[in-house]
Symmetry: C2
Subunit: 792 residues, 2 copies
C-alpha cells in the first residue's frame, strides 16, 4: 500500500498550462485555416469555410489528459486512455501533439508554426483527418464514432495486462446507450490480480446534441447509488462552475486523482496478497460545464454549460464580424503567446509534463496492439482430427471436436487467448475447454455443485450480452491478443453495428503504415438457423452473412465447414490470420463426417471443390446437373439428394460441389479469395443447371455470382423465412431445401429426362407429404431421413 504526497504548485501550473495549450490547439483545429498563433488580428480568411468540429466534450478530455500525465510520471504507471465521448478527436490530437508523438508519427506536422498551421488545417478537412479519436489518432483504440463501447473496450484491454491502468472516459450521452449501461457490470468479470485496472470516468457535462442527459439530471445521491449498485466506489468531482480559479480546480482534482490512485493501489496490493474479495473499484464522476471555457453566451444565448456548445459554439465567424471578434477573444483567453515560443514551439515546461517515450498515452504500445502481438502457439490439428475411413461412416459433432482443439490452444497460450460468449460455450459443445480453464467470475460464489467451472481467473468470458462479448473481444484484440466470440447465429445481429465499426477500423488501419496488424476477429456461429428445434422462429436468422458481405472484400471471410475436420482446418487458418473478420458457421449437432483430415485440408485450401465420391460423373464428360452446397445442413441434404438420384436416375451425370469459403464464389477481381471466371466455369460449368443448397438467405449466392457466365442457370435454395419450433427435417422442408425438393428441382431443370423422372418427381412429392405427416403424428423426423447415412 502506498500513498503519494500531493503535487506542488509548480506542477499544477504545468498541468494548467498543458490544459490551456491543449484547449487552444483543439479550438484552433476546429476553426483555423491559418494564423495559428494569432500573430495577426483574426480575419475571415483565417477561418475554415465549413466548421465541422465538436467543442463540447473537448476541454474535459484535455483536463483529464493533463492530470493523467502528471500521475503517470509520478507513479510510473502504464496507462491507456479511452475517449468514449463522440468527436473527441481535436482534443486527442492536441494532446498527442503536445507530448511529441504526433510529430514523431506524422513528420509533416512539425513542432513549429508551419506544423501548427498544418495541424489545424487538416482537422475535419478534405484530405485531412477525421473528427473522432480515429485510427489515425495516436494513442487511440476507440474511435467513439458510434457510442456505447468505451467500457467494454477498456475491460478488454485490461484483461491479462495486470500492470495497465485503462482510464475510460464515458460521455453522459454515451451512458444512455444499452451497451454502455450493461458494461458497468464488467467489474464482476475482472480479476484484480491477473488483470489490469479500469478507471471509469463518467464525464457529466450535462447535454447531448439538443437535450440534457439523463444522468446529469438525477439527484447526486441517486447517481452515486447507481454507481454503488454497479459495484464501484464513486468519487464525485465538480469543477469549472461559478468562476472558480482554475488553479483551485486543478488542485482539488489532483488531490482527488491521487486519492483514487491510492485506492487502486491498495486494492491491487490486497489482491497480490491473496485477497479474493471483489473490490469496489473507484469510479470518478466528473461534472464540468459543457463547452467549458467557451463564451458564456453567443448572440445573447447561453452557450457554455448548455447543449449549444456541443458542436461549434460560435457559428459564423467568417461572415459575422461580432462572431469573429468573439472567437478572437476566446482564442486569446488561452494566452497562446505564453504557451508557444517565437518559432511556434510548445513551451518546454509544458512538454515536460509528458511522460517519457512509450509511457506517453499517445505512444503506448497498448494502443497499437500489433506491436505487442505474438503468434499463437497452435496445436497440431492432426491430434484432434476425427477418423473418417469413409464418407458418412463416422458420426461426430463439429464443435465438440473444435472444443478439444481449443482446449489445447488455451493450454498452450495461457495469457493471450480468450473465448467470449453469452452463456453459450457449453451449449455450443465446446465444454472440453473446461478441462484446462474456467469461466472468469468475480461475483459471489455459492456452492461447488452449482458453480461449476467458475474461476477467479479463467480463459472463458460469459455474460448474457452480445455487446459485452464483442466489445471485450475487440478491446482484447486491439491491445494485441487473440480470441473467439461464439454466438447464436440469429443474435449476432445484436452486434451488427459493432461489427461494422470494427470492420471500418480495420479498413482504415490498413491504410495507416504505423498501425501494426492485429489478430483477426473470429466468430463461431454454431447454434444456427437450421437447428433451433426448441427455440423456433425468433432464433432463425442467417442474415449476419449479408451484413458482413457489405464490408470491404479484403477484410471479411465467411466459412461454412460441413463437418468436424473442415471446421478444424478452418479455425487453424483463422487463428493464424491478421486484420480480418472471420465468420465461421458450423453446427453443434452430431452428424455424419465426410472428409478425413488430409482431404479436409485440401478442400479447405481450395475453399470449394468437387466431391467426386458424392457425384455420379462420367470421366471426360460434362455433368448434366451440378448440386452445390454450403453449410452443414444443406450439405447433408445435397448428399442425400445425390444418393436418391444415383439410385433412381443412374444415368444422370451429377456433380456435387461443396463450398467452404463463400468468398470463392466472387470474382477474383472483387475479392482476394475469388475464383477467376475460368476456374469458376470449370467447377460449375457454363451451361448445366446448378441447384445450390445454401445455409443462408438464397439471394446472397446470386449477389456473389451474378456476373458469372452460368449465373442464369443457378437456382438457389436457402432460408426463406419459414420456421417455428419443429424437427430438423421439417425445417428444411418448410424452406424447400430438403433432399426430396432438391431432386424435384433437378428434374424440373434437366430437360432431357424422360418419363421415369416424372415418376420420381411424384415419388419425391409423396415422400415429402409422408415425412410431414409422420412428424406431425410422432413429434420427430421420419426414420428414413433421421437415420439416413451416406451409403459409401
Amino acid at each position: 500500500m502506498s500513498t503519494h504526497v500531493g503535487p506542488d504548485n509548480a506542477r499544477l501550473r504545468q498541468v494548467d498550462r498543458w490544459w490551456r495549450a491543449a484547449n487552444y490547439l483543439s479550438l484552433g483545429q476546429i476553426y483555423l485555416l491559418d494564423n495559428p498563433l494569432l500573430r495577426q488580428p483574426l480575419a475571415p480568411e483565417h477561418i475554415k469555410p465549413r466548421l465541422l468540429g465538436h467543442w463540447g466534450t473537448t476541454p474535459g478530455l484535455n483536463f483529464l489528459y493533463a492530470h493523467l500525465n502528471r500521475v503517470i510520471s509520478e507513479r510510473h504507471q502504464q496507462a491507456l486512455y479511452i475517449t468514449g465521448p463522440g468527436h473527441g478527436g481535436p482534443g486527442m490530437v492536441a494532446n498527442a501533439y503536445l507530448d511529441g508523438t504526433y510529430s514523431q508519427i506524422y513528420s509533416h506536422i512539425t513542432g513549429d508554426e508551419d506544423g501548427l498551421r498544418r495541424l489545424m488545417r487538416q482537422f475535419s478537412f478534405p484530405g485531412g483527418i477525421p473528427s473522432h479519436a480515429a485510427p489515425e489518432t495516436p494513442g487511440s483504440i476507440h474511435e467513439g464514432g458510434e457510442l456505447g463501447y468505451a467500457l467494454s473496450h477498456a475491460y478488454g484491454a485490461a484483461f491479462d495486462n495486470p500492470d495497465l491502468l485503462v482510464a475510460a472516459v464515458i460521455g453522459d450521452g454515451e451512458a444512455e446507450t444499452g451497451a454502455l449501461a450493461t458494461s458497468w457490470h464488467s467489474n464482476k468479470f475482472l480479476n484484480p490480480h491477473t488483470d489490469g485496472v479500469v478507471l471509469p470516468i463518467l464525464h457529466l457535462n450535462g447535454y447531448k446534441i439538443a437535450n440534457p442527459t439523463v444522468l446529469a439530471r438525477i439527484p447526486e445521491e441517486e447517481l452515486t447509488a447507481l454507481l454503488r449498485g454497479y459495484g464501484h466506489t464513486p468519487y464525485v468531482f465538480t469543477g469549472g462552475f461559478d468562476d472558480e480559479d482554475p488553479v483551485s480546480t486543478h488542485e482539488r482534482f489532483a488531490a482527488l486523482l491521487d486519492e483514487v490512485l491510492d485506492h487502486i493501489a491498495r486494492i491491487k496490493s490486497e489482491a497480490e496478497a491473496g485477497s479474493t474479495e471483489r473490490p469496489a473499484w473507484p469510479a470518478i464522476v466528473l461534472r464540468t460545464p459543457k463547452g467549458w471555457t467557451c463564451p458564456a453566451t453567443v448572440d445573447g444565448k447561453v452557450t457554455e454549460d448548455s447543449w449549444r456548445s456541443h458542436q461549434v459554439p460560435i457559428s459564423a465567424p467568417r461572415d459575422n464580424p461580432e462572431h469573429l471578434e468573439l472567437l478572437q477573444d476566446w482564442l486569446h483567453s488561452y494566452r497562446p503567446e505564453d504557451l508557444f515560443d517565437d518559432a511556434g514551439r510548445v513551451a518546454e515546461d509544458i512538454t515536460a509534463l509528458a511522460p517519457q517515450g512509450p509511457m506517453r498515452m499517445s505512444d503506448t504500445p497498448y494502443a497499437n496492439g500489433g506491436l505487442l502481438l505474438r503468434d499463437l502457439v497452435l496445436p497440431d490439428i492432426a491430434d484432434h482430427a476425427v477418423d473418417v475411413p469413409d464418407p458418412g461412416a463416422t458420426h461426430g459433432a463439429a464443435t465438440t471436436t473444435l472444443g478439444e482443439y481449443l482446449r489445447e490452444v488455451i493450454r498452450l497460450n495461457p495469457e493471450t487467448f480468450r473465448l467470449f460468449g453469452p452463456d453459450e460455450v457449453a451449449s455450443n459443445r465446446l465444454q472440453a475447454v473446461y478441462e484446462v480453464t474456467g469461466k472468469q467470475w468475480n461475483a459471489e460464489y455459492l456452492r461447488p455443485e452449482v458453480d461449476d467451472h467458475l474461476a477467479r481467473a479463467g480463459r472463458v468470458m460469459e455474460m448474457l450480452s452480445e455487446h459485452q462479448c464483442q466489445g471485450w473481444l475487440e478491446g482484447y484484440l486491439l491491445t494485441g491478443r487473440h480470441g473467439i466470440f461464439t454466438s447464436y447465429e440469429a443474435f449476432v445481429h445484436i452486434v451488427d453495428s459493432m461489427f461494422n465499426q470494427h470492420a471500418k477500423w480495420l479498413e482504415t488501419t490498413n491504410q495507416i503504415p504505423w498501425r501494426r496488424p492485429i489478430a483477426s476477429l473470429n466468430y463461431l456461429l454454431s447454434s444456427h438457423v437450421w437447428r433451433q428445434d426448441h427455440n423456433g422462429f425468433t432464433h432463425q436468422d442467417p442474415g449476419f452473412l449479408d451484413v458482413v458481405m457489405n464490408k470491404k472484400a479484403e477484410l471479411v471471410r465467411v466459412y461454412l465447414p460441413p463437418d468436424a475436420n473442415t471446421l478444424l482446418c478452418t479455425y487453424d487458418h483463422c487463428l493464424r490470420s491478421r486484420q480480418l473478420v472471420n465468420v465461421v458457421v458450423a453446427g453443434k449437432q452430431p452428424g455424419p463426417q465426410f472428409l478425413p483430415l488430409e482431404e479436409a485440408q485440401a478442400h479447405c485450401a481450395r475453399g470449394l471443390g468437387i466431391w467426386e465420391w458424392a457425384g455420379a460423373e462420367v470421366a471426360g464428360e460434362d455433368p448434366d446437373v451440378v448440386l452445390a452446397c454450403a453449410g452443414d445442413v444443406p450439405t447433408l441434404e445435397t448428399l442425400a439428394a445425390a444418393d436418391l438420384l444415383r439410385q433412381d436416375l443412374p444415368e444422370l451425370r451429377v456433380r456435387v460441389v461443396n463450398v467452404v469459403d463463400l468468398m470463392r464464389l466472387q470474382d477474383a477481381a472483387e475479392h482476394p479469395h475469388g475464383l477467376t471466371d475460368r476456374e469458376f466455369d470449370q467447377v460449375f460449368t457454363t451451361d448445366a443447371p446448378v441447384i445450390f443448397a445454401f445455409h443462408g438467405y438464397p439471394w446472397l449466392i446470386h449477389r456473389l455470382t451474378y456476373r458469372r457466365t452460368g449465373h442464369p442457370n443457378i437456382h438457389v435454395r436457402g432460408y426463406k423465412e419459414e420456421g417455428t419450433t419443429t424437427t430438423p427435417f421439417d425445417m428444411v422442408m418448410l424452406n424447400d431445401l430438403d433432399r426430396y425438393h432438391l431432386v424435384m428441382d433437378v428434374i424440373d431443370r434437366v430437360t432431357s429426362l424422360g418419363s421415369r423422372a416424372a415418376g420420381l418427381r411424384q415419388q419425391m412429392a409423396d415422400a415429402r407429404l409422408r415425412a410431414r405427416q409422420y412428424t406431425r403424428d410422432h413429434g420427430q423426423d421420419i426414420p428414413e431421413v433421421a437415420e439416413w447415412v451416406w451409403p459409401g
Copy 2:
C-alpha cells in the same frame, strides 16, 4: 390515496390452487403426449419423444400471474403482463387456459380431458405452438425469444394509457443485456398523470443456461442501491427456499403486492393532484429458486435452485425408468386430482380467481392492440406541399417540410401518435413539431434557456438509445397506437435484431385470425450515408436496407423519396398503412425540389417512373441509355449527368428513371409492389445500358433485378465503403457516383458514340480532378457542383 385490506385465507388458498394448476399444466405441456390427468400410471408412451420446453422460469411466472389475478379483481385494475424471461410459453398458455381465454380463442382446446391432452401435446410440437410467449399466445405483446426488451415494451405500452398497469417480469439473464440495462431509465420519460404505470418485477432465479446471473450474485445492498440508482423504490421478496409452507409464501407475497399497489395508488393520486415530482416508482425483486417445485436433485445432482432446471430438469423419462418415476412423482406433487374434476374441467374455485372478460390479462385488448387502433386523423398534404413551379426552381429541405406536416399530425392526434428518436429530432430538422408539443421529460429541470422544449407531457421521446426508441415504439404500436422512429441511417443497425424480431412478430400475426392488424413501424433515416460531412466514416453505412430486405416481402417497404413533396406523399401513405415496416430514407439537407405535389403524388403512386423533363428522348424511339436513380443524392447526380449529356451529346437519347419505392424493382411474383416483367421492360428496356445511381450498397439493386431480361445491362453505382469527413461532392466522387463518373459510365457503355464522346470522357476525368483539387485547397466543393441547379 387508498389502502386495501389484506386477502383472507380462502383467497390465498385459491391463489395457491391456481398456481399449482398452472404449474401442473406447464409441466404437462413440456412432457406429456397423453395421460394428461395422470389417471393411469405414467408410461413411456405418454412422454414426448423430444423434450423441448423450459421449466426454469415457469413457476415464478405462474406465481406472479396468480397473485396479479387477485389484485386485478380486487382493485378493478386494467393490467398487461409482459413475460421478459425467455421460454415463458408454457406458463402463459397454462394461465390463459385457466382463465378461459385459451379455449375461447382456440376452440379445439376444450375445457375437458381431451382439450387438456391437445393443450399439452401441441406445445413445442410439430404443427403446434412455439415455446415462447409468441404471437399465438393470448395476452402477449412480447415474445421473449430474443432477450432485452421487456421494459422498453412495457413503457411503450404504458405511454398514453393512464389507467393501465404493466407488470413487466424481467429475467435475471435478460437483465444482463444492454437493451434491458438502459431501459430502467425509462422512468424519467414517463408522466405519472397522463401515462400508465410500469411495475418492473426483477425475477432473480439465479441462473442462466449454464451460469449464475450477475444480479443474483451481488450483495442485496448493492442490488437495492442499483434499483434506487435507477430511480425506483425496491421491494425485495424471497420465497420458495428452506421448505417454507407455500401458504406462508403466498401470504407474504400478497402483503407485499398490496403494499406495492398502495404505493402506486398514492403516486397516481399525487400526480392527479398536480405533483410534478418524479416519483420513485416501486420495483419488485422476486428471488425464488430456479425451477421452483421441481425435484431437488436428479441423478444425484442439484437441480432445483440451479442452472440444471433451466430446460427439462428430468432428461430421459421415456427411456429411464427412474426418471419416469421421478417425473410421475413430480406431476403428482401438484395433486391434479384436486384441481380438475372427473371430466377434466378446472375446479371452479380456481377459475373464479380470474378477473372477468377483458380484465383477464390474457384477454386484455391492450395485448391485441389492433382492437384499440383508430386511424390517424391526417392533415391534407396539399397544405404543406412545397411550391415547385419548375424542376429545380425551388430549394427546400425535405425533412423540414415533413416536420411541418408532422406538427399537424401531432395537433390532430394528441393522444395516439408519438415521435421517437435518439436526440435527433431537431438535428433531423423536424423542429416544427415543437410548435405544438415538447419532449416528454420527467427528470430534473434547470433553467428555461437550456431546457427548451422539455415538457412534463409531450409527443417527442428522445433518449440516446436506439434500443429504447425502437422498443418504446414497438410497445406503443403493439397496444394500438402510431409512431415514427427517426435515426441516423448508420446507427439504425443497432436495432437490426429488434427489427428482425418485430418483423417476425408481424409475419406470424398475419397468420393468426384473432390478432388484429396494428399500425406500421415507420423509420425515418434522414441523416444518411451521403451527408456525414462532419461525422465521417463511422457514420456511413446504408446496409440497413439489406437487413430489411431479408424479411418477408409482404411486410417490408423501402422508400427513397428524392425531394420534399415525394417525402410528404410517402409519409402520408406510411401513416395510413398497417402491419408493415416502412423504411424511408430522406435527406435533411437543403436541396433542389423537383416535383410539384400532383406530380409527386402520381410518381409515388407508381413507385417509379420516367422523368421525361429530365431526359432527352425522341418520341416513339427507344432510348440509347437509361439513367436510373434512387435516393436524393443519387438523383441530384443523375440529373446533373443528364444535363451534361444534353449539352455535350445532344444526339444521345437519354431516359431518366427515378425510383421511390424500391420494391417496384422486384418481380411481381416476389413482392406485392413488384413490377411485372413487361412493365419493367417498358421502363428500363431490355437492351439499353442502364446506369443506376443508388443510395445504398450497389448489389442490392442486382439482388432485386437479377431475374429481369435486361439485367446484364444494368450497371450500378452506390456506396462502396469509401468515406471520411469530407465535402458532399467529394463523398460521391470517392464512390464513383458523381455526375462526371456517371457520364463516363454512359460513354463506356454506349458503343455507338464517336470521337466526341472520347473527348467528353476526358473532360469528365479532368473535371473530377479539378473538383477534388479545389476541395483539398478550399475545404469546400467547387462552385460548379455546389451551385448547380437544373437548368429547366
